[in-house]
């Protein structure tokens, strides 16, 4: 449904550091594909090239069989795009914004109402409120409705959950799962690593380069090291002891635990337990654990 081939974008003078550096990936029909990486990694530039708002400096990309440069008019009719920044008309009401976007695409709200029913019902009681006066969560839901109202075949969502609290984030992902059942292809970006597990496939991105593309499960399965999780009453001290272990491949805080990794088969659970008790953490709980996407990301960064 989407194919990017060696996409390059460089801002400023020629020969500068590229914002997007030979990025290639593909997204299948009906898939949720997540582009995951920190601010400044190049996520928005990729979105803007795929949505025909920015010309690539190199490489090609195809959306639903259409070229992003030569077929840009056709692409604009069949995609829905929700930019990272709120871009609706703040002085139009909820209902007016929705009707406006439907009209732009030569359709009506009624015709495609089935696509937005679930989401719009939560907005219904604010239908006459100006969009600029909505809460953050409600703005986000309205923006999604406006991006969906012309029944696009591909939906591009650029950081829809950034700065959104965990409860609203969870609700938003539940909405996306329901849209997936309507056969809409969804490409979404996020800086939150925990959202990776909700995608069918993900691409990890940092400084314009894709580090890896795979299903979250395969990516975790491919984590090369043995990973342990450790906790103790004095976590600050425990983290220092973790950092001081010179046999580790990595060691970092992960919520209530510290994660510490070693090359496969080089350290046993018993050895690690005695390491921590030697360092004064007789209460340390040491367990074998599996990696998270965040562990994988850190691993790619340190390679």
């Amino acid at each position: 449904m989407i194919t990017a081939n060696q996409l390059v974008k460089t801002y400023g003078k020629k020969g500068g550091v590229p914002a997007v550096d030979q990025v290639s990936f593909s997204v299948d029909r009906g898939e949720i594909f997540g582009l995951i990486g920190p601010d400044g990694a190049g996520k928005t530039s990729i979105f803007r090239m795929l949505t025909t708002l920015l010309l690539p400096d190199g490489g090609t990309a195809v959306v639903d069989g259409l070229d992003v440069v030569s077929d840009y008019r056709k692409i604009r009719r069949i995609i829905g795009y929700m930019p990272g920044k709120f871009s609706l008309y703040p002085d139009l009401s909820v209902a007016e914004n929705l009707r406006f976007f439907a009209t732009l695409f030569h359709t009506t709200v009624e015709e495609n109402y089935h696509l937005i029913r679930d989401i719009y019902e939560q907005l219904e009681r604010f239908r006459d409120r100006r969009a600029g006066k909505l809460s953050g969560g409600m703005k986000q839901k309205l923006a999604l409705c406006c991006a969906l109202i012309h029944a696009p075949s591909v939906l591009f969502l650029d950081e829809p959950t950034t700065g959104v609290d965990p409860v609203s984030r969870k609700e938003f992902w539940e909405i996306l799962q329901r849209l997936k059942t309507q056969q809409i292809t969804i490409m979404v970006s996020t800086p939150y690593m925990d959202e990776a597990m909700r995608c069918d496939r993900i691409g990890l991105i940092q400084q314009g380069c894709l580090l890896s593309v795979d299903t979250p499960k395969n990516m975790i399965g491919a984590y090369p090291d043995d990973l342990f999780r450790v906790k103790a009453a004095d976590m600050h001290g425990l983290l220092k002891a973790t950092a001081a272990n010179d046999r580790k491949t990595s060691g970092y805080a992960f919520g209530e635990y510290a994660h510490i990794s070693f090359e496969k088969g080089t350290v046993t659970l018993t050895e690690l337990r005695s390491y921590y008790s030697r360092h004064g953490f007789s209460d340390a709980v040491v367990e074998v654990s599996s990696a998270t996407i965040e562990d994988c990301f850190i691993k790619f960064l340190s390679n």
């Binding site: 609290d165 600050h236 209530e256």
Partner: protein
């Protein structure tokens, strides 16, 4: 020395008939890392603005670093640091100029500012970038520099408003080591975040829902109290019933 860093009693702020912060009562001990959590629109920012002397409460009382938030706002501003993801540094000034600017604002003497600048550049390994414009630095470096500048005057308390939003996982952890170091030096840290793993790094955590503090304890005790496996679950249970958004 036994005065708490922050003491708030029934602190309330109303805007017309809307109660943004509704009679919150809590204390933060010196040197504590205090996580101030809540859904969007729960009233966190309003509470932080009152505690930093920027907004006058409607009712209730509070003391920050021992100073009254009605009468001694100037003293409060001198004794706190503040950093947020949105505003932190001047992008069109160099690293060195930003340090000098903020050091000057906080009244550091010339010699002390020179020592602090050298110390800071070496601690952040930014020596080679001292004369680069801040706008051209990667976000992660900016955030670490912004934090260091916010505590350049060794304030009693530093307020951090979503300091790690959007930064990569390695930088997020480096940022937290800076927080731990500051707390070790006796600086009280008051931090908001949407990352629930970061709630675990706090000594105690409060959770606000619809203007009220509905839970306040150590992460361990909160998980026990709500029979939850993670802070994410604790948060979800409490904030799911929220009536309002931001």
């Amino acid at each position: 020395m036994n005065i708490p860093a922050i003491r708030a009693e029934k602190l309330t702020k109303r805007f017309g008939d809307f109660t943004a912060t509704d009679a919150i009562t809590f204390e933060v001990a010196r040197g504590e890392i205090f996580g101030f959590l809540g859904a969007n629109g729960a009233g966190k920012t309003t509470a932080m603005r009152m505690l930093s002397g920027l907004s006058r409460p409607t009712s209730g009382s509070a003391a920050v670093a021992g100073y009254d938030i009605y009468k001694q706002t100037d003293l409060i501003k001198k004794n706190i640091g503040y950093m947020s993801q949105k505003f932190s540094l001047y992008e069109d000034l160099t690293v060195r100029e930003n340090i000098r600017f903020f050091g000057g604002i906080y009244g550091l003497a010339h010699d002390r500012l020179r020592d602090k600048t050298a110390e800071l550049l070496s601690r952040l390994a930014l020596g080679g970038e001292a004369d680069r414009l801040v706008g051209s630095l990667p976000l992660g470096w900016k955030q670490k520099l912004a934090f260091s500048v916010a505590v350049i005057h060794e304030p009693a308390i530093v307020f951090l408003d979503e300091p790690t939003g959007g930064v990569d996982p390695l930088t997020r952890r480096q940022f937290w080591s800076l927080i731990y170091e500051a707390a070790d030096r006796g600086i009280t840290v008051f931090v908001t975040t949407h990352y629930m793993d970061e709630a675990e790094y706090c000594h105690r955590v409060s959770i606000m829902v619809d203007g009220k503090i509905v839970a306040l304890d150590t992460p361990y005790q909160l998980k026990q109290q709500f029979h939850a496996a993670s802070m994410e679950e604790v948060f979800y249970r409490l904030a799911r019933g929220a009536k309002r958004g931001d």
